[in-house]
Symmetry: C2
């Protein structure tokens, strides 16, 4: 049973929903459940508030921290939906296992999510592009700095209203030296540590006026892996290409949704290793039509140019791109403006 | 100027200094300095206490967290020393840069350290093996979950009394699939995220009754890199071998101290890539005499056996091993029982 302690006041009236900066405003409540003595106890929703930890808490020292990103949507009749939440739940526990953290039971994860979203329903606005971004996360709380897994953890869900994600024109630098993940490592998880590692190489790209890095494999830097914190797709001729998931590529929920939609729209898709050389050759001979990133926050983010080994390539933007067709189709399903033969929409009880 | 707010009471009388578990007891005070508005402000020593952060603090989500481990020692005249603290300071800022975190100025790091150790001098006990373990660390505190570097940080130093580190007999499993760090990644830093990634593969080794994993390169798994959270040395015949530092191997301070001491003791040393095949061949023909790990916590930790690809090898333990000679020499310098031609000892003012 989830106990609910409602906030006496709401800050919703102070929020400008038309000027939201991603991930900086949070709703009135949060879900919390602690793991200790080998079990998850006392799941609760309480007013959004700071958390207090010992300076020796293992999350600060050894990085046992994982998260998920997902969204709740409203349709035009004010019905509330989550998009493929069980996929996030499953991936959360895949991350947990790899980071030697306890798995969260499905009923705690799903009921916590449903109750929180229902409680915060006024924060979910109608209209394509608008959503409530949900951030389940788990941190290690043991007050001891021996290098071993924590015995105590905190699982939380916080929620942040999101508007249309607009990143401007995105150009990317294809990595020649830096890498995001190793074979045998944790690149397939949503571990906090994977993200901090990307910031510095990304800042170097930004100094050259690229917004993101396309990561390449750490062995040879010959094969593309992800774009920034997104999975990455390429359109060569009429074929849509993306790299296969592995222990160093995230099994993105937007990625697999896009693949399924593309197949059902009759778009030829190939999931295989893609070399940088192939991309550059296709760009040179005019066959490279599109590059885009996929992820929960941005949904589908077109990339209009790239650099690799001092060579700069620019793509022509055009109407009816795969990126725009697939994004329209996906957001229509998310907002209940289209049929959902895949049962991706989960109605919030 | 560092402000000092002394704790009205000390918990030192409640501590059993002969039964310390590593990293679980902390002294009465901690050093704190916050970074905001582009600069470090208000360095202070305050009573040891919990810290309060927003649930959206970036350290919980994107793993911007780094640390150092170092020790303070007392000699038999109650003089207080740190061991090579500037090396820790420099490495801390190397980690900071790679994680897109602000560097800590030398005077804040060193003065904070000196003042804290001096204030806690009663916690540093005399005798070889006894020390005060110091843990400088930095965490990202911005209350926003956009995937970008934080603008606000907290730098802290906490201190934990340490006794003789005894880990029992250590046997290790040489990694065939899992890896610790990638080329182009952050393995050379003391980033929190590097440690969480090791716990699960280590737990698999522990299920087979191995205490630690010897990590191999992520490309081929043919070359040894580190042992658990330590650098690793091998003695083949009379030669002491260790892997060169790189972007995926930590530039360990104990490692480089051991190399220097070995050279000056006339021990032949080689710093080069070492293949698993070479180690196994040397073990088979009796040339592999020793394996040991080096690190601040354990100093030098002998390894008495290993497994790789279902083959098990056991080493004979013997007197006057390189491990014991080098450990005696190093701890004698640390505790001011031997000359220090290297100027590694830093007297705490």
């Amino acid at each position: 049973m989830i106990s609910v302690n409602k906030s006496p006041i709401s800050k919703i009236d102070s929020v400008n929903f038309d000027g939201l900066s991603f991930g900086s405003v949070f709703t009135d409540h949060m879900f919390v459940c602690d793991f200790s003595g080998g079990s998850w106890t006392d799941p609760k929703i309480i007013p959004y508030q700071p958390i207090t930890l010992e300076p020796s808490a293992r999350v600060f020292h050894y990085g046992q921290a994982i998260f998920e990103g997902m969204k709740a949507f409203k349709d035009d009749q004010n019905q509330l939906f989550l998009f493929r939440p069980k996929d996030n739940f499953k991936r959360f526990n895949i991350s947990a296992k790899r980071l030697a953290m306890p798995e969260v039971p499905e009923d705690i994860f799903m009921k916590g999510l449903n109750r929180l979203v229902r409680l915060e329903e006024n924060w979910v606005k109608c209209g394509v592009g608008r959503s409530l971004y949900l951030r389940p996360f788990m941190i290690a709380t043991d007050a001891a700095i021996s290098a071993a897994p924590s015995k105590n953890y905190k699982f939380m869900i916080i929620a942040s209203p999101a508007g249309v994600y607009y990143s401007g024109e995105v150009r990317v630098l294809i990595a020649e030296n830096y890498s995001r993940a190793a074979d045998g490592g944790i690149g397939f998880t949503k571990a906090a540590g994977n993200y901090a590692a990307q910031f510095y190489p990304t800042s170097l790209a930004q100094q050259k006026n690229y917004q993101q890095v396309i990561w390449t494999d750490s062995n040879s830097h010959e094969f593309v892996e992800e774009a920034g914190t997104m999975n990455v797709f390429f359109r060569i001729g009429d074929t849509l290409l993306t790299a296969p998931t592995s222990d160093h590529i995230l099994d993105g929920i937007t990625r697999k949704s896009v693949l399924k939609l593309a197949e059902d729209l009759g778009i030829p898709t190939e999931v295989r290793r893609i070399s940088v050389a192939e991309i550059k050759n296709a760009a040179r001979n005019g066959e490279l039509k599109e590059i885009f990133g996929t992820g929960t926050a941005a949904v589908i983010n077109p990339i209009c140019g790239f650099e690799h080994a001092q060579e700069v390539f620019e793509l022509k933007m055009f109407n009816n791109s795969y990126a725009s067709i697939l994004k329209d189709r996906l957001t229509a399903i998310q907002h209940n403006r289209a049929d959902d033969p895949y049962q991706w929409r989960h109605m919030v009880p």
